[in-house]
Symmetry: C2
């Protein structure tokens, strides 16, 4: 887990924050938020909010009272305690891409399979830059639909010993995730004391929380497992085309979802979620890694801090079809602001391609390289007399070189970040090594990494109990 102790880059004035604050207040109170689950509406009604069908007109001050019940920071435990994470403050937690129906491997783009899921989970385990494989690293299309959530959770629990995200397709899927988590961590009390899974609840923006997502939210919040309440905003489609409008809407949606979480279980840990980009107004396609999304990201961080909430933004987003230059610059156009904003929970941090339709193996490696570099870039310099190396200057003098200086010899092994993927080879040597571009080298790297992969050890009693559960539930689900 990375701690980002560099300054935050904040671009909103106090006046702007106030305008946005008035904006979400007006939306929740005048237009209201739709909750497509009667139990949710009932909770709000009982708490004295005005209800009109499934639309709740919220008192903004009431919303903030609920929001204040959420912890500012919290822990999530992993089955390997070395991989526990802390969400909030200056901590940054990174997880892999989420939700892709396809995979890309070199020049081949195809339906994702359960084998891909296991491979991508293994890679997520193998790289220290990731704190989690995430959840649906890819959609395993060869696994039966009704029970594949069991296979995915099982893979995340056994191939990784990091935190993992819960299934949110339905209430029962969420309940299965919780039950499997109880098995892995030794019972309900253990995971209620320190949560052990974290789940993504998307808003059906604009201003509507859907039934299945709410079913899952109710399960997770009741079990005190954190939820990432995320407005899903592609400006021009799910929100107006002006960034301030999208930010006000994002506040209205996220804060209303967080208020609901607190009504379900006061004190339930939550994350202020953001997934904010825009559509290409010519093609109508989603665009990622855009300047508008970077601005939105920076503002989101500042606003989440304003309301005292840990937040999610960012990742290695891009619209590119292959692991080419565009995929890289769009990814970094999002990832660098992610660090500038000090995002607490970063989904899609490795592997995202083609607007999130594709989990790409090579892109996964490219993103790991970016995370490695950004971790160095966002580590404060230590500046003191010794760091000035005056002695080295005395030794080398005018017009000399420092290659053999004592100061260099003492530090050359770890003075600079060593690239894993990037090449500094001169042209002749690069040709001799096969003239491989970045994507081709990334292909070599992930294959070698997978080949040497050893799953982390797991207690056999627990594994057997998980096996039993999965077998039983699969039977019950008719698969």
């Amino acid at each position: 887990m990375f701690r980002n102790t560099m300054p935050r880059y904040e671009i909103l004035s106090a006046d702007s924050v106030e305008v946005l604050d008035r904006g979400w207040r007006r939306i929740v109170s005048e237009i209201g938020i739709q909750f497509a689950k009667p139990e949710a509406v009932e909770l709000f009604a009982k708490a004295g909010q005005r209800v009109d069908g499934d639309v709740v007109k919220l008192d903004p001050d009431f919303v903030l009272e609920q929001v204040a019940k959420a912890p500012r920071e919290f822990d999530v435990q992993a089955r390997n305690p070395a991989h526990n994470v802390h969400i909030g403050g200056n901590h940054m937690v990174f997880s892999s891409v989420y939700g892709c129906p396809f995979v890309r491997e070199g020049d081949v783009r195809r339906d994702a399979t359960m084998n891909d899921f296991r491979q991508l989970a293994s890679l997520s385990q193998a790289y220290d830059e990731l704190d989690s494989a995430g959840g649906v690293i890819c959609e395993p299309n060869d696994a039966p639909l009704d029970s594949r959530h069991l296979d995915m959770i099982y893979a995340l629990q056994t191939l990784t010993d990091k935190i993992y995200m819960g299934n949110v397709v339905s209430g029962p899927n969420a309940a299965d995730t919780i039950r499997m988590t109880e098995i892995l961590f030794g019972g309900r009390a253990a995971i209620e004391r320190v949560p052990a899974t974290i789940s993504l609840i998307n808003c059906n923006s604009p201003l509507r929380w859907d039934d299945r997502m709410l079913d899952a939210q109710f399960e997770y919040c009741a079990a005190a497992q954190p939820v990432v309440l995320t407005p899903f905003l592609l400006m021009g489609a799910m929100s107006p085309v002006t960034i301030p409008a999208a930010l006000a809407q994002q506040l209205a949606e996220a804060l209303s979802g967080i208020a609901l979480a607190q009504l379900i279980r006061p004190g339930c840990p939550v994350i202020f979620g953001s997934f904010l980009s825009n559509i290409d107004m010519q093609s109508g396609s989603p665009s990622f890694g855009t300047p508008e999304s970077a601005i939105g990201l920076l503002c989101t961080g500042q606003l989440a801090r304003h309301y005292g909430l840990p937040f999610r933004t960012g990742g290695g987003l891009n619209s590119s079809q292959t692991a080419d230059a565009q995929s890289a610059y769009e990814a970094l156009m999002t990832l660098l602001p992610t660090f500038l904003a000090g995002t607490n929970f970063v989904m899609h941090a490795a592997g995202w391609l083609e607007g999130g339709l594709v989990s790409c193996y090579e892109k996964f490696i490219i993103d790991i390289e970016l995370l490695r570099e950004l971790r160095v870039e966002f580590t404060p310099l230590e500046i003191d007399e010794a760091s000035l190396a005056f002695g080295a200057h005395s030794e080398v003098g005018h017009g000399g070189h420092f290659l053999g200086a004592e100061h260099t010899m003492e530090r050359f092994r770890d003075c600079f970040q060593r690239p894993m993927l990037s090449s500094t080879a001169n042209f002749e040597r690069w040709l001799k090594l096969g003239g491989k571009d970045t994507a081709a080298r990334a292909g070599d790297i992930w294959r070698a990494k997978l080949e040497s992969f050893e799953p982390p050890p797991l207690d056999e009693t627990i594994r057997a109990e998980l096996d039993d559960f999965v077998t039983r539930r699969r039977r019950e689900l008719g698969d």
Copy 2:
């Protein structure tokens, strides 16, 4: 010319700035700076500085007194007044790659030619994101060595109407540049009133200014033409391996060069230059787009402001061999901090590949795309009631979409930056369009741009005078 009115991202504490300040003072006073030109040493001696051979031990307060004579901001005129630039403050001026012996065009890497020079100058003229083609956009290896500076300056003067950089290979080359600039702008008085060319003076780091560079500097400063005094620091080779040491050395070198400029001609406009990266300690090769260089860049901006000087850093630097993912992420890893630092003069902003050995046509287009995006990203948001688009929410309601909303229809043409190079096409459409990756699409773009290129008009009397000068000088030089 872009004005960056966003906040600066500053990462040095006041204490750190003080430590670095003590660092350069100690270097210039105890180790001193070598000036391999007797006239330079003489100027310092006359001004009361201690001289030991060609090494000058400088009084740091004397250095700062000289530095204070340099203007904080100044103009540089272009032959098209619409392309005049202002250097300093929140202004950012961008110029193309500089100094490459090779070019890359698709899969072909070859010696650069004068035709390449002309083509790259034309592309620099064609894109508004560049304020200058720079100087040696590539080294035209097919032009005679002694007179090729005449061909280059002539190409910059005739194919572009933007500011251009002067030749610095020798004093006479600098004098030729100045003479040709006088012809273009109507005489010496005109260019002394408002300078019309800007030149790069590199330090032979560590702590040595070489004779040829100094010869050029004397010419340019005497004519009141700005110079960019640039320590050339690859940490591990030309400076110690710690960033603070490199920063202190950079201050020592740049400030001593700036002091000399003020002794040559008090008030001569200067730019605090920085070219700061590191070598790969395994291969010994230069690395670019590294986290260390990004940190150095951010610190350099803050230090330059501390000493009240306009500064140069950044560009689209990278070590990659082709216009692939690495070339893109390393370029942005430098360019985004360039904007965060608010760099006043950015060299190598378009076309840099392979550690600066290659001017790459496709990379040129990729960089233009990055500049386009960053200009949007670093334009402050306007946040007021109207921008919140409350009416659009009322119109669309819960779970609807904004594609046809009145607010969207009024703004869809220019609400988001339209990509020039990036593709948001879905996979099927992308395949139908040829399945071209970013580099291939960039190839299409620069070829089309060149095909439609029209050089800016130039007064025929002036062109004839330039022709005469070039012909005469070429004869004198024996080419």
